[in-house]
């Protein structure tokens, strides 16, 4: 953000409005911290019995240690989200650039609304679509890929007969995070200082060169933070993944088989309904892991944005 070098004012007078507003802003800020601390405390307290109980006494674990139970889930969560992001980010940047720099004004507005509308679709609908429409439709492609490109570990066979694979789940996730990333990128690209753009054009840059030299460097921290917000949604997505993904396997890179690692959030949703006793604590403990992962991801994002700030070209 550009610094507004406002001249220092002499002793501002505090009116009641100022006090009320600063007070309520402070309260709101404290509240969010308190809520976060409350969630963390709940997760930690409820997770304690998992450490103290013998794994043999927890039905779901069935004797195996906690970490070997949670490892495939952690992998599945990160893996599916990473693939989703890999697909969603380039498309989002493309859409955002089209809206901000290529499309005629009227079309850009309409398109913006439609993208925003995607974000309002409930995840259950995405889940139904992914499981009942996308999966059967894309299954022949999976069979073809495993047959002809099966030597690539990602496309190792046998292909799933229903198409409900981790790649399908990632495509659904990509569609779900697309609007978030697009909307943020669009706003960031629109903030590019017009002087920079005009300077680039005046130096003889084509429109693409202008975007490359002025818009993208300026928007890079924005793109990263938009991607991280999208990643946050993908990591925590529950319903759509639970409905689409056939989660019956361990850690594997194969994208097109029936045996895929589950994700933490979907696993909680699937097991919670029939869970009782320490099984519930176990599921909450996996939730704590997800909480920690999300925290780490956000911290990394902050760090990247902070590091890149000076290169943004905005100052």
């Amino acid at each position: 953000m550009p610094d507004t070098a406002a001249p220092a004012r002499a002793k501002p007078r505090l009116r009641p409005g100022d006090r009320v507003f600063s007070g309520s802003a402070l309260a709101a800020g404290t509240l969010i911290l308190a809520i976060l601390a409350g969630v963390a405390a709940f997760l930690i307290i409820e997770s304690v019995p998992v450490v103290t109980t013998d794994p043999k006494d927890i039905n779901i674990l069935d004797g195996q240690p906690f970490w070997s139970y949670v490892a495939p889930l952690v992998f599945g969560t990160l893996w599916s989200s990473a693939i989703a992001l890999l697909m969603a980010v380039p498309v989002s940047i493309g859409i955002a650039l089209f809206i901000s720099h290529y499309a005629p004004r009227r079309l850009a507005q309409g398109l913006g609304y439609i993208i925003d509308l995607l974000a309002a679709v409930p995840s259950v609908v995405f889940g139904l679509w992914g499981g009942n429409v996308l999966a059967p439709a894309i299954q022949p492609l999976y069979s073809w890929l495993t047959e002809h490109l099966g030597w690539i570990p990602l496309f190792a066979g046998p292909a799933s007969g229903t198409g409900r694979t981790i790649l399908t789940a990632s495509i659904v996730l990509a569609v779900m995070v697309l609007p978030i990333i697009t909307a943020l990128c669009r706003e960031v690209f629109l903030q590019t200082p017009v002087l920079h753009e005009e300077a680039a054009l005046a130096l003889g840059a084509t429109r693409w060169e202008m975007i490359r030299t002025a818009v993208l460097p300026f928007g890079r921290p924005g793109i990263i933070s938009a991607s991280m917000l999208g990643l946050g949604r993908a990591l925590g997505e529950t319903m759509a993944v639970a409905m689409v993904l056939s989660s019956s396997g361990g850690i594997t890179l194969a994208l097109l088989t029936s045996s895929n690692p589950g994700t933490i959030a979907a696993n909680i949703a699937l097991r919670f309904a029939e869970a009782f006793g320490t099984n519930i604590n176990l599921l909450i403990a996996t939730g704590l892991i997800l909480f920690a992962i999300t925290l780490v991801v956000n911290m990394i994002a902050r760090w990247i944005i902070g590091r890149r700030r000076e290169f943004s070209g905005a100052n």
Binding site: P179, S248, E274
Partner: protein, 368 residues
């Protein structure tokens, strides 16, 4: 984090709010049908009966509750589908007046005699009120029925048999043209009583199935789908798929006739109820405890061994006498012809036989 990320999140919040409003309106309209608490109904029954447990029974319980409350306007019955395990825990703790459970209490659990709501030293009433056949469904173009024995079914679901034209399948289905197609076996990804009963059948009938019966799918691999509807969707939308689901949901899919003795038996309500009659009572139980040891290996004619049997569990002697008339009326209604017919309509259950009804009636009548 996500709240602050977009301006669109409030859309979802407003959606939740709308559902909440609609829900409360619905509740309000329900409440309007019920007279004020304590109001006399024609049958003279009043008060609230709290139950919960097996989610398999949920659809049928909702129908029973609705019909029972219509007939007895002063009474309120609640059934919360918390799952069988939680239901039994709640019953022991006295939080539930009765519970639905996908299995009866085990001998060592009964020996503890720690049922809070019951008079100490009195037996527990357990009635297999909910019998539901589990169909093995598949999708193969032009084939509506296949004959399979337990070993073949186990091989298919374990992933040992991978092609539809495998010799093991073909040898049992002379005259059926089986395609050279990969088998995709679909199982439940969530924990469920359906899985537990299906794996129990396989475990009891064939050494091929070397895992114990379990509500969680015991093997890695295979296709997994969420809930009964997820399995049915996955099977219907795929090709060469096979799965297992509550028989009422089999729809237009192909179904497997299971080998029992020398015959292959298609699922049917009568065949499912028959296995319960064929099965011996659990040993050492009181006359009001109708727990059975489901004989999945029975080779009697006309029994279908893959069934889900769920129990109604209540005290035979309640500490709180006030609740007794309501328990007797509701349990009596469920096992009655009328109640079972409602269950058939709502959840496709197999109505209990006359033999079982007589025993169940005696058990319910003994509650005090």
């Amino acid at each position: 984090m996500r709240l602050s990320s977009t301006g669109r999140r409030p859309w979802r919040l407003s959606g939740i709010a709308a559902i909440a409003v609609a829900g409360s309106l619905l509740l309000a309209s329900c409440a309007a049908n019920e007279p004020a608490p304590g109001g006399e109904s024609p049958s003279g029954l009043s008060g609230t009966l709290v139950g919960g447990g097996a989610s398999s029974q949920d659809a049928a319980q909702q129908a029973w509750v609705a019909a029972f409350q219509t007939a007895n306007t002063g009474a309120t019955v609640e059934y919360e589908p918390t799952g069988s395990g939680a239901g039994r825990d709640n019953f022991i703790a006295g939080a539930n007046n009765f519970t639905g459970s996908d299995r009866a209490f085990k001998d060592d659990e009964l020996a503890k005699d720690n049922f809070t709501a019951c008079v100490a030293g009195t037996p527990i009433v357990e009635i297999p009120n909910y019998i539901s056949p589990i169909a093995i469904i598949f999708k193969l173009d032009g084939i509506t029925s296949l004959n399979l024995d337990a070993a073949t079914i186990a091989g298919i679901f374990k992933g040992d048999i991978t092609k539809w034209n495998d010799q093991k399948i073909a040898s049992q289905n002379a005259g059926v043209t089986l395609p050279d197609l990969a088998i995709t076996a679909v199982h439940r990804s969530d924990e469920s009583g359906t899985t537990e009963n299906f794996t129990d059948y396989l475990h009891a009938n064939t050494p091929v199935w070397d895992a114990d019966a379990s509500g969680n799918w015991p093997y890695e691999g295979g296709e997994a789908a969420n809930g009964t509807s997820g399995v049915v969707d996955a099977v219907s939308n795929g090709t060469g798929t096979i799965g297992y689901a509550d028989a009422s949901r089999a729809g237009g899919l192909g179904t497997v006739a299971v080998k029992v003795g020398g015959d292959y038996v298609e699922y049917s309500a009568a065949a499912a109820a028959a296995i319960v009659d064929e099965s011996p009572a659990a040993p050492g139980r009181n006359a009001v405890d109708l727990a059975i040891e489901l004989d999945r290996t029975s080779d009697a004619a006309g029994v279908y061994p893959i069934v889900l049997v769920s129990y109604l569990i209540a005290c035979s002697d309640y500490q709180d006498d006030a609740i007794v008339p309501l328990v007797k009326a509701y349990l009596g209604y469920i096992i009655s012809d009328e109640g079972q017919a409602v269950g058939v309509k709502a959840a496709g259950i197999a109505p209990i036989s006359a033999t079982l009804f007589d025993k169940a009636k005696a058990a319910v009548d003994s509650i005090r």
